[in-house]
């Protein structure tokens, strides 16, 4: 059975990708395997929470992780392991 990916795992995938460095949102959408419009909404939410930074220079738009985002990423990795142990995600 195909299990719907939870928001927690999607956020973790996004932050994990951003840990490699700044990236274009279109490329990010491909890597984390989700529609661009849905990713845009999520990135806006993460930007408002201070976990990612969206920079626009001319026609180029890039996303990067903030120090707060790195902190949340490290915490989410531990939480994912715990929730996987209990079969919750």
């Amino acid at each position: 059975m195909n299990k719907k990916r939870s928001k927690l795992l999607i956020v973790l995938d996004i932050l994990e990708t951003l840990m490699q460095g700044e990236i274009n949102p279109t490329r990010l959408a491909t890597i984390v395997n989700m529609p661009y419009d849905r990713l845009s909404g999520l990135l806006k939410e993460l930007n408002e929470k201070g976990l990612v930074k969206i920079t626009i220079i001319g026609k180029n738009k890039n996303v990067s992780i903030t120090p707060k985002g790195v902190e949340v990423y490290e915490e989410l990795k531990r939480i994912r392991e715990l929730l996987e142990d209990y079969g919750l995600i």
Partner: protein, 180 residues
């Protein structure tokens, strides 16, 4: 005998509470439903441990009995939420149609069934410890139907198993989210 058990129960309470607080911390930053449900689950597991501690501390038989029963009922809430979380986004919600039938049974049996169910989907040491914890609830339930002379012995064994497995589970799980 009471003091080591009390200490172990209290360690379990602190460890589960620590996990709940770490989850709450991340929930406040991300607002995801799965973390919210997990926070509540671990919070109720900590309350279950606290009730077990209070059932030892209180010498009054009524208060002690109330806390003893609350140990299982709060565990029921915790494991129910874990199961709801597991299936809330899927097509298995019919499982919960059986809950009214389960509610006719004793809290210990329900706690046993629900924790067994959670254990079935768990992995590694968590699976082993959850299985041992659920067996202790069945033993508590059996203590109600055994002969009067056997009740203290069965209850003692059940409580020792429950206490040991709960504290080990709490410590093992809290190490997963421990932040130095």
């Amino acid at each position: 005998m009471d003091i080591p058990v009390l200490v172990a129960e209290f360690i379990g309470f602190i460890a589960f509470l620590y996990i709940a607080l770490r989850l709450l911390h991340i929930y406040r930053r991300l607002n995801t439903s799965e973390i919210f449900l997990s926070t509540i689950s671990f919070f109720f597991l900590s309350i279950s441990q606290l009730c077990a501690s209070l059932s030892i501390i209180y010498s009054d038989i009524k208060a002690s009995t109330a806390f003893y029963v609350a140990t299982a009922t709060t565990a029921i809430v915790a494991f129910s939420i874990m199961i709801v979380q597991r299936y809330s986004s899927r097509k298995y919600l019919y499982v919960f149609m059986f809950f009214p039938t389960l509610l006719l049974m004793t809290p210990d049996v329900i706690a046993g069934i629900l924790s067994t169910y959670v254990a079935l989907h768990a992995t590694g040491y968590t699976k082993i410890l959850l299985t041992i914890l659920s067996s202790s609830y069945y033993l508590r339930a059996i203590s109600v139907i055994v002969g009067i002379e056997l009740i203290p012995m069965v209850l003692l064994i059940a409580e020792l198993i429950r206490c040991a497995s709960a504290v080990l589970l709490a410590l093992y799980s809290s190490l997963k989210v421990f932040k130095p």
